[in-house]
Symmetry: C2
Subunit: 197 residues, 2 copies
């Protein structure tokens, strides 16, 4: 046994995705050995996160300010809204530096299996934002899964009649991907959507 307080800390840490009981134990020892350089700064950062981070009332992104830094940035393009399932997807797109428009986080995905319907997602907010005069295009960046595509179809219906371009991400061979290892679905999609060289 490692002492009740330490065991409890290990138990809490092991609830994080990617950390099992064994790696949590290693992480806790690592933290306890580097108290001043690692544990105390982590504690401070967690306290700030717990107290100050909130969801942006406009797009659903997480930030210490509301509206979030992206919504408040006057440099970004008001004509395009990129719709994502989760904040993690927004962050992934931001890391590419390839998109300079605005975002909208649905907060999930339609799923008959999990009983998640349109009223559980922030779709009303999206439709309201899509009506704003500046908006010209809505990019549906939901997952390339059955539920993701169902959600995209549903949103297309909801956005119909607003006279906005509704687009989606391209599907195909991932950059660096070897054909040999790709699934049949991706490969046949990439073949059908082939483009002139």
């Amino acid at each position: 046994m490692a002492g009740a307080a330490i065991e409890q800390l290990i138990a809490h840490l092991s609830k994080l995705p990617g950390l099992g009981p064994r790696s949590s134990r290693r992480a806790v020892l690592h933290l306890l050995k580097r108290r001043e350089t690692l544990l105390v700064p982590l504690l401070k950062a967690l306290t700030v996160a717990a107290e100050e981070v909130k969801a942006c009332g406009r797009c659903g992104n997480l930030d210490t300010v509301d509206p979030c830094a992206i919504c408040a940035d006057p440099e970004r393009d008001d004509t395009v809204i990129c719709v994502v399932e989760e904040v993690a997807d927004l962050w992934a797109l931001e890391r590419t530096h390839a998109f300079k428009g605005r975002y909208h986080v649905l907060g999930g995905i339609l799923s008959a299996l999990d009983g998640i319907g349109p009223e559980d997602l922030n779709i009303a907010g999206l439709v309201a934002r899509a009506r704003e005069p500046a908006v010209r295009e809505i990019i549906l960046a939901t997952s390339a899964t059955v539920d993701g595509q169902t959600t995209a179809h549903y949103l297309t219906d909801r956005l119909a009649g607003l006279e906005r371009i509704v687009s989606r991400l391209a599907h195909g061979v991932p950059i660096g991907g070897e054909l040999d290892y790709l699934d049949d679905g991706t490969l046949s999609t990439a073949l059908k959507a082939r483009r002139p060289f």
Copy 2:
């Protein structure tokens, strides 16, 4: 970007072993989504750890009390001391429930490459404890690596003359291990140390 405060939290988390930037980001989102059930309890457990956990003055184990719960337990066997490199090794042995004696954490291992000599480890404390009249056996549970075996040999020399049994863990085929996948060193050691069936 995910906001400066969140980026900082991700950076701190990604310094833990087993967590890279990507898994830290997932973990932070997971925490922020479950603020009351996960983030706040984790924060409390980390605060307790930062403020109360200390190394046991006797054996080197980490606990909120000093001497630690193992050293303070009157039920444990005072005649055997099991010597380990790190607290993690002590915890690993405790999980087996196979050892009911006392422990001694060296706090590292002799390593010419890393410049770690006998004065960097808690060897003086071990020799002092080994002299106590109750002690009859010292188990050297250092790693089965070159440095671990060097450390074990050094400790054997230091403990010579005290009239204590000095033993080490058995080497051989791990339980559940397939011969085909074992390295030659383990296999030849297991063959040489074979025992009647």
